[in-house]
C-alpha cells in the first residue's frame, strides 16, 4: 500500500519542484499545458468512464476563461477573485448539465449524435465570441486582464495551477470509487440493463457532463490571468479537436492520462514546431495508431506495464459487507391486469388484444411458439415497447407510457432474454448496483457506506451460486450459465413484488438448470413475490409452474394448470407441429 502511495505522490512532487529545476519560462509553459490537461480530464470522465464523447469541450473552457477574464479586468481584491473562480466553474457546469439533460433524455445509448451536437455548439460559440464584441472583445479578444492580486502570472501562479490540478485529480480518483462513479461506468457497460435497475441514466450522464463542464470552466478561470488575454480561438472547434486528440493519446481511462497527453504533445509541439515542418503529420500518425491499436493510449500502456511489475496504480479499496439493510416491504395483493393490449409496428401486429390477469402470488409460466409475442408482452409491461391500445395495470395504477427506469420503483424486477450484465465491472460491483435499487438516496451517491450494505437474500443466493462470492472477478469472464445466474440475482436482489424472468435457463447445462429451478422455487416460497417466467423448456415449466398462460399470434390462447394445458386440443395443435 505504501509503495503505491509513493507512486501517486511522486508526480505531484515533481510538478512542484519543476520551476526550480528549469527556467521560469518552461514552468509558465507547463502551466498552460496542465490547464489543457484538466479540460482533458473532463473529457476522459465522459468518454472513458461514461462512454459518450464530447467534441466541443473548448466551449466550456472558453466560457470559464471569458467570465474570469471579464471580472479580472478591473483591479480587484481576493474576494472578487474567489467570486470569479466560483462563477467560471458553476456557469459552464449549469450549461453543460442543461444540454446533457435535454439531449440524453431523448436518446439512450451513446450514438454519435451527442458528439455532433457538442461540435455544432462549439462552432456556434466561436461565431458568437467573434461577433459579440461588447461581451467578448470580438476577434482581438479580452485584453488587459490582471493577474491574481499579488501573484505574478509569470511566476507563482504556476503553483495555483498545480493546486487546481491536484484538486481535480483527487476529486476524479475519489469519484471513480464512489457509487456515482460506479453507476457512470455501468452506463458505459450496459445502459439498458441499468435502466431496469431503476437508474435514470440520462440524469447520470448529464451530471457527468456537468462535472466535465465545471472542470473545463475551472481551467478556463486560471487561463485568463495566466495568459492575460482571451480570444475566440479558446472556444473554437480546432482547440476542442486538439483536446480530444491529447486525451486519446494520453489515455482516457483515468485522470492522469489526459494530463500526460497534453504535456508531452504540448512540449514536443513547442520544441519541434519551428524546426520540424511535418510536426503535425507525426501527431496525426500517432493519433491514428492509438485509435486503431491502443485504446488505452500512452497512459493505459503505462498502467499495463506497471501492472506487469506489480505496481497496481488503481488499487480499489476493499470493503466487507457489514451493515445489513432491511428488505423491501413486499405489499400483499399483487394484481396485474392486461386488458385487450395490442401493439402495431408497421404492417405487423405484435400483440393483438392480449388480456389476462394475475391475482395471486406464485409462479406463472408464459409459453407459446416462436413469435407468439411472449417477450413483447413483457416489453409492453416494462415500457420498453409502447403499446398502442388497451390498458396494463399493476397494483391499481395503469402503466401507460412509463419509462423502464420507473419499473423498479413500482416493485417490478426484470431479467432480459439474453443474459444482460455489466461485463467490465467486477461481480461485487454488479451486485452492489442491484442492492442499491430503491435504496440508494442522493446523499449516498458520494459516500462509501453503500459498499458495506448487505441483505439476507444475498447470503442465500451466494450459497446456491458460490461463484458470486469471489468478488474481484470481472463479470465479463463468467460463462454463459454463470451470467444467467448473476443476471437473475441482480433482478431479484431488490426484492421486487413482480419478478419477470425471460428464459432464465437458456444456455444452462443440465446441473445448472436444476440449480436455477431450485433457487427460483425456494425464492417463490420464501418471498411473497409473483413470478412471470417465459420458458421453452417443458421440464422447467413442469417443475416450477403454479399456473400456465399459452400465447399464440399475439393473443392469449389458453390458461390453467399444466395438466389442463396438456389436454387442451388447441394447444396440442399448435405445439405438435400443425400449420401455424
Amino acid at each position: 500500500m505504501a509503495f503505491s502511495l509513493v507512486v501517486k505522490l511522486l508526480p505531484m512532487a515533481a510538478l512542484l519542484a519543476f520551476p526550480f529545476l528549469t527556467t521560469s519560462y518552461s514552468a509558465y509553459q507547463l502551466g498552460l499545458y496542465l490547464l489543457y490537461g484538466i479540460v482533458g480530464q473532463g473529457i476522459a470522465l465522459c468518454w472513458g468512464n461514461g462512454g459518450f464523447l464530447p467534441l466541443g469541450q473548448a466551449l466550456f473552457f472558453g466560457i470559464g476563461a471569458y467570465i474570469s477574464g471579464k471580472i479580472l479586468q478591473g483591479n480587484i481584491g481576493w474576494g472578487v477573485v474567489i467570486l470569479a473562480l466560483i462563477l467560471s466553474v458553476i456557469i459552464p457546469a449549469l450549461i453543460a448539465g442543461f444540454i446533457g439533460a435535454l439531449v440524453f433524455d431523448r436518446q439512450i445509448g451513446s450514438g454519435p449524435y451527442f458528439s455532433l451536437i457538442t461540435l455544432a455548439l462549439s462552432l456556434l460559440g466561436y461565431q458568437l465570441a467573434n461577433s459579440q464584441v461588447l461581451l467578448t472583445g470580438g476577434f482581438n479578444g479580452l485584453t488587459g486582464i490582471n493577474g491574481l492580486p499579488g501573484i505574478d502570472s509569470y511566476g507563482n501562479l504556476y503553483f495555483f495551477i498545480v493546486g487546481a490540478l491536484a484538486v481535480s485529480t483527487l476529486f476524479l480518483s475519489h469519484l471513480v470509487s464512489t457509487p456515482f462513479g460506479q453507476l457512470l461506468a455501468a452506463v458505459r457497460e450496459n445502459e439498458e440493463r441499468l435502466q431496469f435497475l431503476g437508474v435514470k441514466t440520462s440524469r447520470v450522464k448529464a451530471a457527468a457532463f456537468a462535472m466535465s463542464g465545471a472542470l473545463a470552466g475551472m481551467a478556463g478561470a486560471f487561463f485568463a490571468p495566466h495568459q492575460g488575454i482571451v480570444t475566440p480561438q479558446v472556444v473554437g472547434f480546432i482547440l476542442s479537436a486538439e483536446l480530444v486528440i491529447w486525451t486519446a493519446v494520453g489515455g482516457r481511462f483515468g485522470p492522469v492520462g489526459p494530463v500526460v497527453g497534453a504535456v508531452i504533445i504540448g512540449f514536443l509541439a513547442s520544441g519541434l514546431r519551428d524546426s520540424f515542418a511535418y510536426w503535425e503529420v507525426v501527431v496525426a500518425l500517432v493519433f491514428i495508431i492509438v485509435v486503431l491499436r491502443l485504446p488505452g493510449g500512452v497512459g493505459g500502456l503505462g498502467i499495463s506495464i506497471a501492472k506487469r511489475f506489480g505496481i497496481n496504480v488503481w488499487s480499489q479499496k476493499k470493503f466487507s459487507r457489514t451493515e445489513t439493510v432491511p428488505g423491501a416491504d413486499q405489499k400483499e395483493s399483487p394484481t396485474l391486469e392486461f386488458d385487450n393490449v395490442s401493439v402495431q409496428i408497421g404492417p405487423v401486429a405484435i400483440l393483438s388484444g392480449l388480456s389476462f390477469s394475475i391475482k395471486q402470488t406464485g409462479i406463472h409460466c408464459l409459453i407459446g411458439p416462436n413469435g407468439a409475442g411472449k417477450t413483447s408482452a413483457l416489453n409492453a409491461l416494462t415500457g420498453k415497447l409502447p403499446y398502442s391500445s388497451g390498458k396494463i395495470s399493476w397494483r391499481g395504477n395503469t402503466l401507460k407510457g412509463i419509462r423502464p427506469f420507473r419499473t423498479s420503483g413500482l416493485g417490478i424486477g426484470r431479467k432480459l432474454q439474453v443474459p444482460s450484465i455489466f461485463p467490465g465491472l467486477t461481480i461485487r460491483q454488479n451486485i452492489d448496483i442491484a442492492i442499491w435499487v430503491n435504496r440508494l438516496k442522493f446523499t449516498h451517491l458520494f459516500s462509501l457506506k453503500p459498499y458495506q450494505w448487505n441483505i439476507s437474500l444475498l447470503d442465500e443466493l451466494q450459497d446456491s451460486f458460490p461463484f458470486l462470492k469471489d468478488n474481484e472477478e470481472l463479470a465479463g469472464t463468467l460463462s454463459v450459465g454463470q451470467r444467467q445466474m448473476l443476471d437473475f440475482t441482480m433482478a431479484v436482489l431488490a426484492e421486487p413484488n413482480l419478478i419477470l424472468l425471460d428464459e432464465p435457463c437458456a444456455g444452462l447445462s443440465k446441473s445448472e438448470t436444476e440449480n436455477m429451478i431450485s433457487v427460483i422455487s425456494n425464492l417463490a416460497r420464501s418471498s411473497k413475490a409473483t413470478f412471470i417466467i417465459v420458458e421453452h423448456d417443458m421440464q422447467v415449466v413442469e417443475l416450477l409452474s403454479d399456473h400456465v398462460f399459452v400465447m399464440h399470434q399475439g393473443k392469449l390462447l389458453a390458461e390453467g394448470s399444466l395438466n389442463q394445458i396438456r389436454d387442451n386440443k388447441e394447444v396440442q395443435r399448435i405445439y405438435a407441429g400443425g400449420s401455424k
Partner: protein, 388 residues
C-alpha cells in the same frame, strides 16, 4: 528544407527534452543583439511567412553591413506568430526570457499583437509592421504599417473624383479591422457627398457571396470597398467577376496584395484597386534597388514580395534608427527618441509622428496578374491619435 537543415532539425527534435533545451537557453547572449521576429509560419496567414523571413534576413544583413545597431551585430530569432494568440504569446515569451531577445518586430494579426503587448508590458521595444486599424498607443510599441487614414482616405477621394463615383458598397469580415476601416471610409464618403448603399459583415467561414452580389447589382453601387481577409477575398472577387460585374463596378481594398491577386486570377482582376505602402513593382529607385537586391539574394522564384512581407524590412530599419537616436536599447529612452525620427527606405521617406509613420502611399490598379501604380500620395499623415 535542405538536407543539412533536415538532419540538424531532427537531431534537435531527438534531443529536445525540456531540460537540455532550457540549459542552453540560460547562457546569456554574448555581444550579439538578438531580435525576435514574429511572423506567421502556420495558420491562415502562413502564406506570408517565407517572404517575410527573407526580407527580415536582408534587413539584418544590411544593418550589420552598416555596423549593426549601437555597434552590436544583429542576430534574428524567428518564431511562428500564425498560432492562436495564447501559443504565440508563449513563443514570444520563450524568445524574450528564454533566448534573451532584447527587441521584437511583429508581422501578424491584431489579436496576436494584443497578446504580445500583454506579455511584454512595455518592458521590451516592439515594432508592429503590417497595416492595421490604427488608434493604438501602447508603451514601447512603434507602428510602421499603414493606417486607414493614410491609405483609405486619399484613395477614395482620388477614385471618386477620377470616376465620378456616387454609390459605395462596403463588404468585410465580421471583426474589428474591417469595422474600423469602414468607419473612416464612411466619413470620407460623406464628405465627398457619396452615398453608402450597403454595408455587410461576414463570418470567416462564408464561401458563397451570391446574396451580396445580388444586392451590389440591385443597389447599382459604383465602388465596392472590400475588407475581406484571405480566402474570403479570393472567393468574393472570383464570384464578382463571374457575374460580369467587374466591367461596370470598381473594387478597392487595402489588403488585396500580390498573393491574393494570384488567387483571384488574372481574368477576374479587372478594375481592382489596392492601396498600400509598398507594391512589388513600385518604380521608385529605392524600391527597384530593393527588388533587385531581393532577387539577387533569394533567386527569381523566391516567394513573391508584398506590402505585408516588405514591412518587416521597414520594421528593422525603424528599430535601428530609433535605437541609434535613443543611444541605448531600452524602452525608457526610446519612447521619446522615437518622435520625429526619419529614414529613407524602399517605401520612400518616412517620419515618425505619434508613434506611427507618415509615409508615401501608392494606389495600384490590377492589370492581369500584376499591380500597376496609378497614383502615389506623398508623405501621408498617420492620423491624429497617440498625442505625445
Amino acid at each position: 528544407m535542405k538536407r543539412r537543415d533536415f538532419i540538424k532539425s531532427s537531431l534537435t527534435a531527438v534531443a529536445a527534452t525540456v531540460t537540455v533545451q532550457t540549459i542552453v537557453g540560460r547562457a546569456w547572449g554574448g555581444s550579439a543583439l538578438k531580435v525576435g521576429v514574429m511572423i506567421p509560419l502556420s495558420g491562415p496567414a502562413g502564406l506570408f511567412g517565407p517572404a517575410s523571413k527573407n526580407v527580415s534576413q536582408m534587413a539584418a544583413d544590411d544593418i550589420n553591413a552598416a555596423g549593426g545597431i549601437l555597434g552590436r551585430q544583429v542576430e534574428l530569432v524567428f518564431a511562428d506568430a500564425g498560432l492562436p494568440p495564447a501559443e504565440a504569446a508563449q513563443t514570444a515569451l520563450r524568445l524574450w526570457r528564454g533566448d534573451g531577445c532584447e527587441a521584437f518586430i511583429g508581422m501578424h494579426d491584431s489579436a496576436v499583437r494584443g497578446a504580445l503587448i500583454n506579455v511584454f508590458k512595455g518592458q521590451v521595444p516592439y515594432i508592429y509592421c503590417p497595416n492595421y486599424e490604427g488608434g493604438e498607443c501602447a508603451r514601447g510599441v512603434y507602428y510602421v504599417g499603414e493606417t486607414p487614414a493614410q491609405s483609405v482616405v486619399p484613395s477614395i477621394k482620388w477614385l471618386t473624383e477620377e470616376n465620378k463615383l456616387k454609390k459605395f458598397y462596403l463588404i468585410g469580415n465580421d471583426y474589428n479591422w474591417p469595422r474600423d476601416t469602414n468607419a473612416i471610409a464612411k466619413n470620407t464618403i460623406a464628405e465627398l457627398g457619396g452615398e453608402v448603399v450597403g454595408e455587410e459583415y461576414m463570418p470567416f467561414t462564408v464561401d458563397n457571396f451570391d446574396s451580396s452580389l445580388a444586392k451590389i447589382k440591385e443597389t447599382g453601387a459604383d465602388l465596392v470597398i472590400i475588407t475581406l481577409v484571405g480566402g474570403a477575398s479570393v472567393s468574393f472577387n472570383r464570384a464578382f467577376a463571374s457575374f460580369g460585374l467587374s466591367d461596370r463596378v470598381l473594387r478597392f481594398g487595402t489588403l488585396i496584395d500580390e498573393n491574393t491577386l494570384a488567387g483571384i486570377g488574372a481574368e477576374n482582376s479587372k478594375n481592382i484597386y489596392s492601396a498600400a505602402g509598398y507594391f512589388a513593382n513600385v518604380q521608385t529607385d529605392d524600391a527597384k534597388a530593393f527588388a533587385q537586391q531581393y532577387v539577387a539574394k533569394f533567386g527569381s522564384d523566391a516567394p513573391v514580395l508584398n506590402a505585408l512581407s516588405q514591412s518587416c524590412y521597414d520594421g528593422l530599419i525603424a528599430l535601428d534608427v530609433i535605437a541609434e537616436k535613443a543611444g541605448e536599447m531600452s524602452v525608457a529612452s526610446m519612447e521619446n527618441a522615437a518622435e520625429g525620427m526619419e529614414y529613407d527606405g524602399p517605401r520612400g521617406h518616412a517620419t515618425m509622428k505619434n508613434k506611427h509613420l507618415a509615409m508615401d502611399i501608392y494606389l495600384a490598379n490590377a492589370v492581369g496578374a500584376e499591380f500597376k501604380i496609378v497614383k502615389s500620395f506623398r508623405n501621408m499623415e498617420p492620423g491624429n491619435f497617440c498625442k505625445a
